[in-house]
């Protein structure tokens, strides 16, 4: 059954549809860099603000981006380059550009239906919804990360966290899932820049307080008009030699997209 799980990893190519950075919300505009939270102990409202900003950092009504994913496992290493388009919560299109072996592979997801196009055979496979679980392409991202139906602000409770040797200018927030929310984490510790709420690190713990994995945000820069970390690094704390790096090369948010992108014809076009 391990093999089936591995399979579903590839299938989750489609889950890119919901890739956290690109899940849209009802917000009319993105967060603006520069919302300042100045020093001193943070009030709960301040914390809420930070969390909200982090949630919304990568959301939009529609998006188009080029990104690179580097996956390192104990058995192999690879780097994928791909272009992703998304609209609303349920339409996504992914096209892989590199490596050569997978060039032209595309995934289309509309609602609960997902198709993969395989240029080598020229065939389209429809993926059953039950296969859309587990880790994504052998990476450390899970479907939950990518579909991210749950937001920190709505589905978690949060409080300031005390850590040993806190860095100055950094705010530490402990998030605990609310009762009944289907996430497996016991708690998530978020480190963010006090000045602009840019996240630095997210540490995921299980119910017993064991560190399971860590997401590190790097390369803060301009992306599609927003100032956000362009690199996300996810490192497993339990599996040795396993980590994934996601780098955004380009992105644009909320620009109108040609609806023809999200079609089977586009899937087969190989472009």
């Amino acid at each position: 059954m391990n093999a089936l799980k591995r399979t579903s990893t590839i299938i989750i190519l489609a889950a890119l549809c919901g890739l956290a950075p690109f899940s849209p919300a009802a917000l009319p505009e993105g967060p603006k860099a520069g919302d300042l939270i100045l020093g001193g102990p943070l009030s709960s409202t301040d914390i809420r603000e930070v969390i909200r900003k982090i949630d919304e950092m990568y959301r939009s009504r529609s998006s188009a981006a080029t990104l690179e994913m580097e996956i390192v496992t104990p058995h192999w290493q690879r780097t994928l380059k791909m272009r992703v388009w998304s609209e609303g919560m349920d339409k996504t299109f992914v096209r892989i550009d590199e490596p050569l072996k997978e060039k032209g592979v595309a995934t289309l997801r509309i609602g609960n239906d997902m198709w993969n196009y395989l240029p080598k055979t020229g065939k389209v496979i429809k993926v059953p919804p039950s296969m859309m679980m587990g880790s994504w392409m052998g990476s450390d991202f899970t479907n939950d990360d990518l579909v991210k139906e749950y937001t920190f602000v709505d589905d978690y409770t949060f409080e300031p966290a005390t850590v040993e040797n806190p860095e100055s200018g950094v705010v530490y927030i402990k998030c605990t899932p609310r009762e009944g929310v289907p996430v497996v984490w016991g708690s998530v510790l978020i480190e963010a820049r006090e000045s602009d709420a840019i996240p630095l690190r997210e540490r995921y713990y299980d119910g017993t307080g064991r560190l399971m994995r860590e997401m590190v945000f790097k390369d803060v820069g301009s992306l599609g008009g927003r100032v956000i970390p362009k690199t996300l690094e996810l490192v497993s704390a339990t599996k040795a030699g396993q980590h994934t790096v996601l780098r955004y090369t380009e992105a644009s948010f909320d620009k109108p997209l040609d609806p023809a992108i999200f079609s089977l014809r586009n899937l087969r076009s190989g472009d």
Binding site: N2, I10, P99, L118, T121, K123
Partner: protein, 400 residues
């Protein structure tokens, strides 16, 4: 004199002999049949699906993984061939994936096989119910399980698309032409299995020359254990696990073991009854002739001689019956071994259809009954003959 006595009382001899003879033949048949049926099942099971011995890398048996591979097949193959007792062997590649025909898809368990070797080892070609087996050279062909064919609404000639994650992490995908549909009798297996040519599979999954499993068939079931040991020695690689079917098919083994134990109980019962039958008749025969013995003593035969005569008679008769019985049993067992007893309705056991039960010709089906008959005859004759030796002639002669 013993011999003369025997032939004198023909009827008595015949009757006594009958119980020995009958007991022997029936006992022999029972053992041959029980052994034959069980060993037949085990053999069929191991030959057609599992192989008698399997070789894997490390702890693949407990925790299968795409990455736990046997890497130097080129070197290992000849070593296996050279081991005496090995009849044939076949390498296999195993992985999971998503398969699709038209717009229907399902999760599947894929196995890459070497067509020539697999046919020789587990008679893979016999499992094909529709279409044909693989071409010898890799030709992008696929054979799928009957249940899967139904689920995917696929037929011969259809195109099967396979999607999986290769050993280098890349997306493994390719299309294959369905040339055959196979059944194993196990519903779950048939619903999820896909077979490819192993070279195609290795290509697809970027495995190079690596395989996950080598199945070995030995020429006789009993040779299993020592061939396993020999293989381990010759291969001499601690990272390889060489296990006999009793280990890798543990649940099947346990089931067979349990049944065999049940058989021992019944065997004991059968032996008991044979013994009692012989005891009964020999005892009666000996007891009835006390007058005779008295006569013998009266004419001067020494006690010891009387004792010997009685014992020898019993022994002689037993031996003759055993020999005669052996001949008959041999004929009977050989016949049933070759032709079997046809079952009114074939039984399917673990996916294999049993249409007839056959006996097995082996030593113990003759040895055990022989010992039983001999021992009980001797035992039965012992007490009375001792008594006969000690009888007072006058007393016995007055008996009738």
């Amino acid at each position: 004199m013993a011999v003369r006595n025997i032939f004198r009382q023909k009827r008595r001899t015949i009757l006594t002999g009958l119980s020995m003879f009958g007991g022997f033949v029936l006992g022999s048949f029972f053992i041959a049949w029980a052994d034959g049926t069980y060993n037949g099942i085990i053999d069929m099971f191991t030959r057609t699906r599992l192989g008698h011995i399997q070789i894997h890398a490390g702890d693949y048996l407990d925790q299968p993984s795409l990455y736990k591979t046997i890497d130097d097949l080129a070197k290992i193959g000849p070593v296996i061939e050279a081991v005496k007792g090995v009849e044939s062997w076949a390498p296999r590649v195993d992985f999971g994936g998503l398969v699709s025909v038209g717009d229907k898809s399902a999760g599947a368990r894929l196995t890459g096989i070497d067509p020539a070797r697999e046919n020789e080892t587990t008679h893979f070609d016999r499992r094909i119910v529709e279409g044909r087996a693989f071409s010898l050279a890799p030709s992008h062909e696929a054979v799928i399980g009957s249940g899967l064919a139904k689920n995917l609404e696929a037929g011969i000639g259809g195109s099967l698309v396979v999607l999986s994650q290769a050993a280098d992490g890349s997306m493994a995908n390719d299309a294959y032409r369905i040339v055959g549909i196979a059944t194993t009798g196990d519903e779950m297996t048939d619903r999820t299995s896909v077979y490819l040519h192993w070279k195609d599979a290795q290509d697809l999954m970027v495995l190079g020359d690596r395989v996950h499993e080598i199945a070995v068939v030995v020429d006789s079931l009993s040779a299993g254990p020592w061939v396993t040991r020999l293989l381990r020695e010759r291969l001499g690689d601690p990272k390889l696990s060489v296990e006999p079917w009793q280990v890798f098919a543990r649940s099947f083994y346990n089931a067979m073991k349990a049944d065999k134990e049940g058989m021992w109980i019944t065997l004991l019962v059968v032996i008991l009854i044979v013994a009692v039958g012989v005891l009964n008749t020999v005892l009666m025969a000996v007891l009835e002739r006390r007058r005779e013995y008295g006569l013998l003593k009266a004419v001067g035969t020494r006690p010891r001689q009387v004792f010997e005569i009685v014992m020898m008679e019993a022994a002689f008769l037993a031996v003759v019956c055993i020999l005669l019985g052996s001949v008959v049993a041999l004929i009977l067992n050989s016949y049933v071994s070759a032709h079997g007893i046809r079952l009114s309705e074939p039984i399917s056991y673990g996916g294999i259809k049993l249409a007839s039960m056959n006996t097995e010709l082996n030593l113990r089906s003759f040895l055990i009954p022989a010992l039983t008959v001999l021992a009980t005859a001797g035992l039965a004759a012992l007490f009375p003959s001792l008594k006969a030796a000690r009888t007072v002639p006058a007393k016995t002669m007055r008996m009738h």
